[in-house]
């Protein structure tokens, strides 16, 4: 809330702008009291806030309605929308399931799992345009926003978006930027395990429970330990691994398949032929899911006219993924260490994230705690439901008046200092944390430092985020410099105050008591601070992209699925698919909606017979 430089107040409704005074349009470095007044929305502008789970593989949106969180279905009637963006041959942008289905047939024109690159400068080319990861996320968010507006029947301008608890500063900023580009005001970023905990905890607000949320999603792994007492949901510790998820389990299988067949396929690396890679990936993912229910599975890969088989059973899979399962233990251990090894134990273990459906993962969790985890809520949906609860809390909904949620910051934040070793030598690059990890946020801590050399004229603080004792292993966020009076070393004191707000925005304040000088810094990412004009420009650019209309979503998805299956199978099956596809296309031309719907259903059923149930 302190970072109003560069922001302009955005009003929820365009028509209101003319009526408001000019001062509300210009950025004001306002005092907190005035800010509150500006933000306090008059009752008639009380729009619904939606909660969005922006996941690596799938996204979902939910809203708080009638005293409970409700999932919003997309244009295909499903509660989960794949986080995939693709470009058609004529340049139309596809989002969601239609894009996901085209991953195998058009791998260069489809992008998935871009959440893993949020916060980086990576550029992804689709068709004639290049996109940053936050642009792609913005497209997905826009789709979800449209779904919500269709469901609620009113415009939606504000959202609560979930991020992995272990996302660092840059990644959070990128998520927020994605929201802004999609036309959503994102005033609250919620940590995914907290959201899952809220969804579970809503039913046991009385009494005291301590539970651990084990969130293994498509790309990230988060562990949080929470306590609920008297309606207060308090996060005690938050750890995780940003590079561990369901996709890694897929990769292990992909490596195994390529290990077996790469010679026949004549490829040196698995990414050499993108189409082949995506095909194998798809098969591996299906196999992995099938293994949840079956003891063994056979993958069929049709490539260049030949059929290749790969058999897999539970034991083999277990051996292949041994290392990944072992990696699951360390963040949990660290979280337990952070809360202190006491005799009070964890009461419950909550699973979130689709990858926790794997029996291997459940087995590992059971072994870790000696008790079965609670998994009665759908792990794919639980985070979105929690986000909806948080949205409801934000809307000050009457039924949630008694609930308060407090969160912690998962990383330590500090500066680099130099220390004198016992033998007199001086070593720089030592990390001095100012806000330790698992401090309840919002938090404000300060530490005093002294100058190092004689006649030093300025002190420069480099700000880092991380846990390592040496700053070179931590993430550099920014720097701030303050002039000091030149005096003997160790004589001038400089105070550094870190203020970490509830959304993870860090403000740094340095102050020299002797000269009463102060400097402030708000940590922004490496790219330019969120400049309104540039933001608006990019937003219109994205808006002007030709996106397929919603009502044709279902048909496109069906067509894409059919063409994918056509490519995948051979012989009789392929002929069959070709026939049903041609039939569907004929019906489409007739433009009779009811006939189209029933033909589409029939097509899906037939495809289900051949390839098994579709999944997201």
């Amino acid at each position: 809330m302190l970072s109003f430089r560069g922001y302009a107040l955005e009003l929820p409704d365009r028509t209101q702008r003319d009526e408001c005074s000019a001062t509300m349009l210009r950025p004001i470095p306002a005092a907190p009291a005035l800010l509150d007044a500006c933000l306090a929305r008059p009752p008639e502008l009380n729009t619904m806030i939606i909660g969005i789970d922006l996941g690596t593989s799938n996204s979902a949106v939910a809203v708080w309605r009638d005293g409970q969180p409700v999932l919003i279905p997309n244009s295909l009637g499903q509660s989960l929308t794949p986080s995939a963006v693709g470009v058609d041959s004529d340049g139309t942008v596809l989002v969601g399931l239609p894009a996901r289905e085209r991953l195998i047939t058009h791998p260069e024109a489809t992008a998935i799992a871009f959440k893993r690159y949020m916060g980086t400068d990576r550029v992804i080319r689709l068709g004639h345009h290049s996109y940053h990861p936050h642009d792609l996320s913005a497209l997905v968010l826009r789709n979800l926003k449209a779904d919500a507006e269709a469901f609620l029947g009113e415009p939606v301008t504000e959202a609560v978006i979930t991020v992995p608890a272990y996302f660092n500063d840059k990644q959070r900023k990128a998520t927020r930027k994605a929201g802004e580009l999609a036309g959503l005001r994102v005033e609250r970023l919620l940590n995914e395990p907290t959201a899952a905990a809220i969804a579970y905890g809503m039913h046991r607000l009385e009494g005291e429970t301590r539970f651990l949320v084990f969130d293994l999603g498509g790309g990230t792994f988060d562990v949080s330990i929470l306590e609920i007492f008297d309606g207060v949901i308090e996060v005690r510790a938050s750890t995780g691994d940003n590079h561990l998820g369901g996709e890694d389990f897929n990769e292990v299988l992909i490596d195994a398949v390529f290990g077996r067949w790469s010679k026949e396929w004549n490829v040196a690396r698995k990414e050499e032929i993108p189409a082949l890679y995506q095909l194998v990936r798809d098969q591996c993912e299906r196999a992995r899911r099938k293994l949840t229910a079956q003891a063994s599975v056979t993958m069929n890969i049709a490539w260049q006219g030949k059929d290749y088989e790969f058999a897999l059973d539970q034991d083999q899979f277990e051996k292949l993924t041994e290392k990944l399962i072992a990696r699951l233990r360390e963040p949990v251990l660290q979280a337990l260490r952070d809360i202190g090894v006491r005799n009070d134990s964890i009461d419950e273990i909550v699973l979130a994230g689709g990858a926790t459906r794997m029996p291997l993962v459940r087995q590992a969790v059971t072994r870790m705690f000696g008790r079965f985890p609670a998994a009665h809520l759908n792990p794919d949906e639980v985070v979105a439901l929690g986000a909806a609860v948080q949205a409801g809390l934000k809307m000050r909904d009457a039924s949630l008046r008694e609930v308060v949620v407090t969160d912690v910051c998962p990383y330590s934040l500090g500066v680099d200092v130099a220390e004198t070793r016992p033998d007199g030598s001086v070593r720089g690059g030592v990390y001095s944390p100012i806000i330790e990890r698992n401090t309840v946020i919002p938090a404000s801590r300060s530490k005093a430092f002294v100058t190092m050399q004689n006649r030093q004229t300025a002190v420069r603080f480099n700000i880092y985020q991380g846990e390592s004792r040496l700053v070179k292993d931590n993430v550099h966020l920014g720097q701030i410099e303050i002039p000091v009076p030149p005096r003997a070393a160790h004589e001038v004191q400089v105070e550094c105050r870190f203020t970490y707000d509830i959304n993870g925005l860090l403000e740094v304040d340095v102050h020299v008591p002797d000269t009463k000088e102060s400097r402030q810094l708000v940590i922004v990412g490496d790219d330019t601070p969120i400049d309104d004009a540039a933001l608006q420009k990019r937003r219109t650019e994205l808006a002007n992209l030709k996106v397929h209309p919603r009502d044709t979503d279902a048909n496109r998805a069906a067509l894409a699925r059919a063409s994918r299956c056509y490519e995948q199978f051979l012989g009789d099956k392929r002929e069959f698919i070709g026939r049903v596809l041609a039939e569907f296309e004929t019906v489409l031309e007739q433009q009779n909606t009811r006939a189209i719907d029933s033909a589409r259903e029939a097509l899906h059923q037939r495809l289900d017979q051949i390839e098994g149930e579709r999944f997201l």
Partner: protein
């Protein structure tokens, strides 16, 4: 926040009941929402945390289990949480690994009994190391440790236990540190103190082990330092093997690294104190061994020719040189700081100018010598002495630099001067060649030999050693041939020089604790020195013997070449192990 105000912020009376503190906090939290009122919330949270801490200090602290020292009671470990009260498991739950143990916590699990056995064994000083390791492994691989909470408690208690039972737990500490990644944990801020201490101790122990068994330069320095026959040999070895820098580095870090683990390396500390305490006594010896060949060569040459007038001139020049040196020391050297010296080192023209000063004179001397003029001989003698004196004077600026100075001046510059002179005057007389050969071999050979040795122990293979050996042999052969064929003076000179060079080599052999080095030197002797000496005698007698000796030399050269590869292999193997 003062003591009083925290209770007023919470709105309750001072108490040490955690539940009521918590209830007060949650009550206040409803009105001070962190979303709306960040400042108010921060205050409330601070008050809450302070109140909890105050309550904790009054009541019994909730510390993690630590082992009391010689208590015989096993630590009360948490029994494995039973799987009794769980919600309905989903259909596809596989078999869990839990035993169906029920309500009776009295029954000890395998884990607890294994731990107890291990603990008794550790506390008993007479237990064998192998048995300890075996028991430790049994405890470590127990399936009960899958449970994270048990693993955490175990880690903490094992760290504390091992720290108490030093020194017999030293090996186990290293192993445990590796297994549980204690260094990684202690790297993070906020790690537990027992684990940080154990990780630190493990690091020290591993470092010591590397020093004792390793093959790199620091390890060689450590071994040189801790196993010499006597202090003089110690210094010689360190000087000759260019390990001086490494030893200093080692000694700089050693006290710091082992401050905590005192008593671990008293022997090393003792030798280091001895090494440091007597600088003046052994330095001349080092100088003598390194620099006597040239000095003796010149002095002997000078002694053989003694015209009186030239002596005066020479003495005068020598005196002037010495005065100049003293003046230099008084006025210039004191202002010279280490950095200036280092600049001298790095600045070739400067080095050449100051190094060549005595040498320029030496050139004239040699010219005189060649022309059988004694004044030149005297001058050369005085210049060498002056050089030695100058190097002595530079002594305070550090032994390594000193060595380098003397080396450069005497070994490098003089032979270069000689070679140039020869080129210009086209007079390849035996004495000149002998001098050239010997000094060149000194530089090239010794340097290369030492480098080769260091190469072996650091497992880098350099092909230059072959070239060095060839050059070495060529020069020595040339020296021998020409030295042997000449009249008594140069012959005596040559043999003196050779004898001294051999003496130097022998010292190297006796001082090295390396089988590798001794083997190398012995082979070097057999290849060059013995045939050399024999040829000197043989040349006096008959050409047949000479030819025979040549053949012998050739044979031993081949043998050496053949064995050299084997030595290299062995050396590489040893350093890889």
């Amino acid at each position: 926040m003062t003591c009083v105000s925290m209770w007023s912020v919470l709105g309750i009376e001072p108490t040490n009941d955690r539940t009521s503190i918590r209830r007060a906090y949650s009550r206040k939290l409803k009105t001070t929402n962190p979303e709306d009122d960040a400042e108010g919330f921060k205050q409330l949270r601070e008050a809450y945390e302070l109140a909890l801490r105050a309550a904790d200090s009054i009541s019994v602290p909730d510390e993690p289990e630590t082992m009391p020292a010689p208590a015989l009671e096993p630590p009360p470990l948490e029994p494995i949480p039973s799987a009794l009260d769980v919600p309905e498991p989903p259909e596809s739950q596989p078999e869990s690994h839990l035993t169906d143990t029920p309500q009776a916590p009295v029954e000890e699990s395998t884990f607890e009994s294994a731990y107890r056995r291990f603990r008794y064994a550790l506390l008993d000083p007479s237990t064998a190391a192998a048995e300890l390791t075996g028991l430790f492994d049994t405890v470590r691989t127990d399936p009960a440790l899958h449970n994270l909470q048990i693993q955490l408690q175990f880690e903490q208690s094992i760290a504390a236990l091992l720290l108490e039972c030093t020194p017999q737990s030293h090996d186990l500490i290293c192993r445990a540190s590796e297994l549980f990644d204690w260094p990684g944990q202690s790297e993070r801020v906020g790690a537990s103190p027992a684990i940080v201490e154990a990780a630190g101790l493990a690091r020290h122990l591993l470092y010591l082990r590397q020093l004792r068994e390793g093959r790199h330069e620091l390890a060689a320095a450590y071994r040189a330092l801790t196993s010499p026959p006597n202090p003089y040999a110690l210094r010689l070895r360190i000087l000759l093997t260019q390990l001086d820098v490494k030893v200093r580095e080692l000694m700089r870090t050693l006290p710091f690294e082992y401050a905590k683990a005192n008593g671990l390396d008293e022997a090393a500390m003792q030798w280091w104190t001895q090494y440091n305490s007597k600088p003046r006594l052994t330095q001349p010896v080092a100088f003598a061994v390194c620099f006597i060949p040239t000095a003796v060569a010149t002095i002997s040459g000078a002694i053989l020719h003694q015209p009186a007038a030239a002596t005066t001139v020479v003495t005068l020049i020598a005196l002037l040189a010495m005065i100049g040196m003293a003046a230099f020391k008084l006025f210039a050297l004191d202002r010279l700081r280490q950095r200036a010296l280092e600049r001298w080192e790095g600045d070739f023209p400067l080095r050449a100018a100051t190094g060549w000063f005595p040498v320029g004179v030496g050139v004239a001397l040699i010219n005189g010598l060649l022309n059988d003029d004694s004044s030149a001989a005297w001058l050369l003698a005085c210049c060498s002495m002056a050089c030695l004196l100058w190097c002595w004077v530079m002594r305070p600026y550090g032994r390594p630099i000193l060595l380098r100075l003397t080396r450069n001046t005497l070994y490098l510059n003089i032979p270069m001067a000689v070679v140039l002179l020869l080129l210009f005057t086209q007079q390849a007389t035996p004495l000149a060649l002998t001098l050239t050969a010997l000094t060149a071999s000194q530089i090239v050979g010794e340097r290369q030999i030492v480098e080769w040795w260091l190469d072996q122990i650091s497992s880098r293979v350099r092909e230059r050693s072959l070239t060095a050996l060839l050059m070495l042999s060529l020069f020595t052969i040339a020296a021998l041939i020409f030295g042997g064929n000449d009249d008594n003076a140069s012959g005596l000179l040559a043999s003196t020089c050779i004898a001294l060079a051999l003496m130097q080599r022998m010292t190297c052999v006796s001082l090295s604790d390396d089988q590798l080095t001794s083997r190398y030197y012995i082979l070097w002797f057999s290849m060059f020195a013995v045939p050399a000496g024999l040829s000197y005698l043989g040349i006096k007698s008959s050409p047949t013997l000479l030819t025979g000796l040549w053949l012998l030399m050739g044979a031993s050269a081949t043998l050496f070449m053949a064995l050299r590869n084997e030595i290299k292999e062995r050396g590489l193997e040893a350093s890889r192990a």
